[in-house]
Symmetry: D2
Subunit: 85 residues, 4 copies
């Protein structure tokens, strides 16, 4: 399965960016890459693309969404499309 | 408002990549950037970040999800977070 | 080795977007992901992240930069940093 | 002008991720978005797309490449392609 995880957070919250980076590296086999958009002076939007078993992708999303300071987050799951082919 | 639009499609469908690019450029004021991951020999995952009025972001998403050949798609809306600050 | 390949092209050139996508999928083991920014009504900026042997990364870049209609392109090679650690 | 800035850094260096994010937000009018790839347990690859006057884009790149802990970095400048049209 592939999941995209959308996060909005304030990068001024102490250590938040570092904690998010840390957790992403702990799962660097599952997280393919991420896109970062600087919304304004405070807020970041980050979209992560994660690949793995459905349960793994969900767990990674839960961990990231649970980090203190994350204002909004959402997981979209999709298959790699092979069975749709 | 900011929206992330997740699309999965088969890039072999004739003209699909071109139609998607065309529609994105028609809205190039609203679409900040997109992340593309080549899932396998057939399937692409694309995540677009779009910014504008809620109704505009929704309309762009509907247009893209309605392109023939798109297998899966989903819009996640989020605020820019200013009112959450 | 890891390389980032920057491309600027006009998406109106017939079949260009499709040819670029095609070539990227032919190398989908080496190309991790790409970032696309719609510069204006005509021009796209695409940055690809490619991983593999130096010779492979260079060959992929040459192929992409050689596609007719690509206005500007540049490869930046970097190591994965392990030997720098 | 548009520039792509490629950075490789070790996210374990204290405060590095935070300093990089801080500097990017100080220029959030010029930096459109960035792509992040987790290379391994230590190293990050980040590609930023920056838009502005040539001198501004160059200054942003110099600031980012000068942050302590950045192992490798490179700026690729390109025009928005309008004059090439």
């Amino acid at each position: 399965m592939v999941g995209t995880i959308t996060l909005v957070y304030d990068h001024h919250v102490h250590d938040l960016a570092e904690k998010l980076t840390e957790q992403q590296h702990a799962h660097n086999d599952q997280i393919i890459s991420s896109l970062h958009v600087h919304l304004d002076a405070h807020n970041c939007l980050e979209v992560l693309v994660s690949r793995g078993k459905a349960s793994e992708v969900k767990r990674i999303a839960d961990e990231l969404l649970g980090v203190k300071g994350v204002k909004h987050g959402k997981l979209v799951m999709t298959s790699t499309g092979e069975e749709l082919h």
